[in-house]
């Protein structure tokens, strides 16, 4: 706005092409740090998110020691955490709870969503719809910095008296209301993150509707764009109720209200001196009203990435594109009315449980439609096997296992023995870890050439894939068995103090070693990522011979993206069209 040249506003789509030529060179801070360019913001989100993913994973690696070898001192690292957390290198239960709560929070809100939505959404979506930037570039920048602030707040909470939040990533009341100071930091951090995602969601929806290229109708959108579009609606509408809940919990903690504290609550043999009359279930309802749509926020962008890569490497149109799109929209809608299937054990009543179990069974249908369509897209194809495709192919069975094992949890009766056991952990980690995170890796390998002009090393990529694929299953498959044996997910000793858990305890050790070896298999990725930025094989603008519009831009795209505003002339996946000169017809070529 301060730029006087910006005041003259072009009318019509042709005029803004001329502006690419004379935008002035920005200084370091405006170009790389406080940038309004969607690609820079996308990369900022992506790298920050990947760092948080690794950090959250590290918290889990510490916990896995305690689960595999309860009470044993952690070799080498144990002494670094101080006497308050690990006296003599042995983890204290409170610290274990901190790690658990923060692992969940960081992975979901600071890791996966920022990479999937903030990173890929920001970087790829405007390019795929042929836009020069997001509709509100400064809001976009604000969105990243709110996210950053939220992340810093969460990290800082480890160092406040009493440590970080300890009440699980779900922060169930009344435990969380009465918890130590870290919980307040958690709530404030969440409010920053919610603000960030609100700004992002408004931006994504507006950009998709308004800035799509000429001729790019909604049914010509790449599936990834649809996935981000629906995801943005979920973020827009599901997060505010959690914000409301967060405000109420802050009031409970700071102003002494009793929104979530029932009358006559007894803690450590004493009645809590609050007015009472509150309802702990209210927190759960508001939390899951966000957190179930959040599950789809975690998975839909992943499906979008996988769909792009599968279409590209099968050299075929996606099977059933339209049914996939409508499934996606239906999925988004339904995700708002299934939340209480997380609460079957709360005694909310059979009528409620029946309703939510029915909607949960219904919502599994569109998910299965999308997964089946992706699977059928492989049929009869001459598949190109490269690293992004391997991760995309890995996603399919992993998400399949994760999704299908969720069905017993969605049924009221079957949920009773499985609830809060390791079975639940295994179920949703199959969806998110070898599911979504594999899709995120696939996306990194796939769009890396667009962001840098260079391709990542294939050999290192394949080592990364093979190692991760095996380790993920070594970690999570045993958890199904632990869970079916009845081991609770909340135990500090992994079940060692229970007789019934003795026959399956050794599986904890298997899981833990899987997790630590998984960390080793991330090293090729980390090395590959940085090495390829400078030394990777140089490639052209469209190395994968893809059809979607982002490949029409130079690699890396300049500020403003396209030299000439692109137009869409056909659907997104016109591969192997009979009679065409090449096996792909880009959307933007007339």
């Amino acid at each position: 706005m301060s730029d006087p040249a910006a005041v003259v506003v072009p009318k019509g789509s042709k005029a803004h092409v001329a502006h690419e030529v004379h935008h002035e060179e920005l200084g370091f801070w405006r170009k790389y740090v406080f940038s309004t360019d969607h690609k820079v913001i996308g990369i900022q989100y992506g790298i920050t998110g990947l760092l948080f993913l690794f950090f959250g994973f590290s918290l889990m690696m510490l916990m896995r020691w305690q689960l595999a070898y309860p009470g044993a001192a952690i070799p080498l690292l144990g002494t670094l955490f101080g006497e308050a957390r690990m006296p003599g290198g042995t983890m204290l239960p409170d610290f274990y709870n901190e790690l658990g709560a923060m692992h969940g929070t960081i992975m979901v809100f600071l890791g996966v969503v920022p990479v999937a939505v903030g990173g890929f959404g920001n970087f790829v979506l405007p390019l795929q719809i042929g836009a020069q930037d997001m509709a509100f570039p400064r809001l976009n920048m604000a969105s990243y910095w709110f996210f950053f602030l939220g992340g810093v707040t969460m990290l800082a909470s480890f160092f406040v008296p009493g440590g970080a939040a300890q009440s699980g990533w779900t922060s169930y009341a009344p435990l969380s209301v009465l918890a130590t100071g870290g919980q307040t930091w958690w709530l404030i951090g969440m409010i920053f993150l919610i603000t960030s995602s609100l700004l992002g969601a408004v931006n994504f929806i507006t950009t998709t509707i308004q800035l799509r290229a000429k001729g790019l109708t909604f049914m010509r959108f790449p599936f990834f764009v649809w996935a981000q579009f629906v995801t943005a609606f979920l973020l827009l509408l599901a997060f505010p109720p959690l914000e409301a809940a967060g405000i109420m919990q802050l009031m409970d903690r700071l102003a002494g209200t009793s929104f979530f504290l029932p009358t006559g609550l007894v803690v450590s043999g004493q009645v809590v001196a609050n007015a009472g009359g509150g309802n702990p279930l209210l927190w759960q309802h508001l939390f899951w009203f966000l957190a179930h749509p959040e599950v789809y926020v975690l998975i839909l962008p992943a499906m979008g990435i996988v769909a792009e890569i599968i279409a590209n490497n099968t050299r075929k149109p996606l099977w059933g594109y339209r049914s996939m799109v409508w499934s996606l929209v239906f999925l988004g809608f339904m995700s708002f009315i299934v939340w209480a299937h997380h609460m079957f054990m709360t005694g909310m009543g059979t009528a409620m449980a029946t309703f939510f179990q029915t909607t949960t069974m219904i919502i599994s249908i569109p998910s299965v439609v999308i997964l089946t369509a992706l699977l059928l897209s492989l049929w009869g194809a001459s598949i190109r096997i490269n690293t992004p495709m391997l991760f995309a192919l890995g996603f399919l069975p992993m998400f399949g296992i994760g999704g299908l094992t969720g069905l017993p949890l969605g049924l009221n009766v079957a949920d009773i023995p499985l609830h809060d056991t390791y079975y639940v952990i295994a179920h949703f980690h199959y969806v998110v870890a070898p599911g979504t995170i594999f899709a995120l890796f696939a996306g990194v390998y796939y769009w890396f050439p667009k962001a840098t002009g260079r391709r990542m090393n294939e050999t290192l990529g394949k080592i990364h894939f093979a190692g991760s694929f095996i380790c993920m299953n070594v970690i999570f498959m045993p958890m199904f068995m632990l869970g079916l044996a009845g081991v609770s997910r909340r135990l500090f000793d992994g079940g060692a103090s229970y007789d019934f858990a003795q026959p399956v305890l050794h599986l904890n050790v298997v899981s833990s070693w899987g997790a630590w070896i998984l960390a080793i298999f991330q090293l090729p990725f980390i090395f590959n990522f940085f090495w390829s930025i400078w030394k990777g094989e140089k490639v052209g603008d469209n190395p994968w011979q893809a059809t979607t519009i982002e490949w029409a831009a130079p690699s890396p795209p300049p500020h403003g993206n396209f030299a000439v505003a692109p137009e869409a002339h056909r659907g997104p996946y016109e591969y192997s069209v009979p009679g065409a000169p090449r096996d792909f017809l880009p959307q933007h070529e007339a």
Partner: protein
């Protein structure tokens, strides 16, 4: 670099970016206040006793405040309409009145709050007061936010009028949409908390 459809309307959607953006934002605000109203219902229906609003709160003051906010919505529309007619002077007058009425609302609210505190009625006293302070407090933050934007458009923001009157008018319209929403929230808050 200029983002298209900031000022001019995209023909197939009939909207500017800002218009879509503000409506989406309002949709999320509906969910925010909706969740709080839903919580109110849940807590109230679960309570053994619940005071009638008018036995604790000051209905005449709140009625006055309701009239103040409704008037401010009218002046907000008049401010935008003045710009549509190309009259910056009358815009200034109406926008000034809008900000001023917002300020009157806050002053009245201040007296209501301090009266409650003086009577030792705090958020922690009971859940009626808890939800009262939470809802009206959050609403007040929205009033302050709206006033800040309006004051900006009245002051330094109005420079845009000289260079790009259409853009400026759009901004006033979008700010107005937010202001009407804040007004609307109060229209729901007033009977819910004070009268029921």
């Amino acid at each position: 670099m200029d983002i298209p459809y900031t000022v001019e309307i995209r023909r197939d959607t009939g909207l500017t970016n800002g218009k879509i953006g503000i409506w989406l934002f309002l949709a999320s605000e509906v969910m925010l206040f909706g969740a709080l109203f839903a919580s109110y219902i849940l807590i109230r229906t679960g309570a053994t006793t619940w005071p009638r609003g008018d036995s604790i709160l000051n209905v005449p003051l709140a009625t006055f405040n309701t009239l103040v906010l409704i008037s401010s919505s009218v002046t907000m529309v008049m401010a935008w309409a003045s710009l549509m007619r190309g009259r910056l002077g009358t815009f200034r007058m109406y926008m000034g009145a809008t900000v001023l009425l917002g300020f009157v609302f806050l002053v009245v609210k201040y007296f209501e709050y301090s009266h409650k505190f003086h009577d030792e009625l705090f958020p922690s006293t009971n859940n009626f007061l808890a939800i009262y302070f939470t809802l009206t407090g959050l609403h007040m933050l929205h009033v302050i936010g709206g006033m800040a934007v309006n004051a900006y458009l009245l002051g330094p923001g109005s420079k845009l009028w000289k260079t790009n009157p259409v853009w400026f008018t759009n901004r006033v319209e979008n700010s107005g949409l937010f202001w009407h929403f804040v007004d609307l929230v109060w229209i729901f808050l007033f009977p819910t908390l004070y009268l029921l």
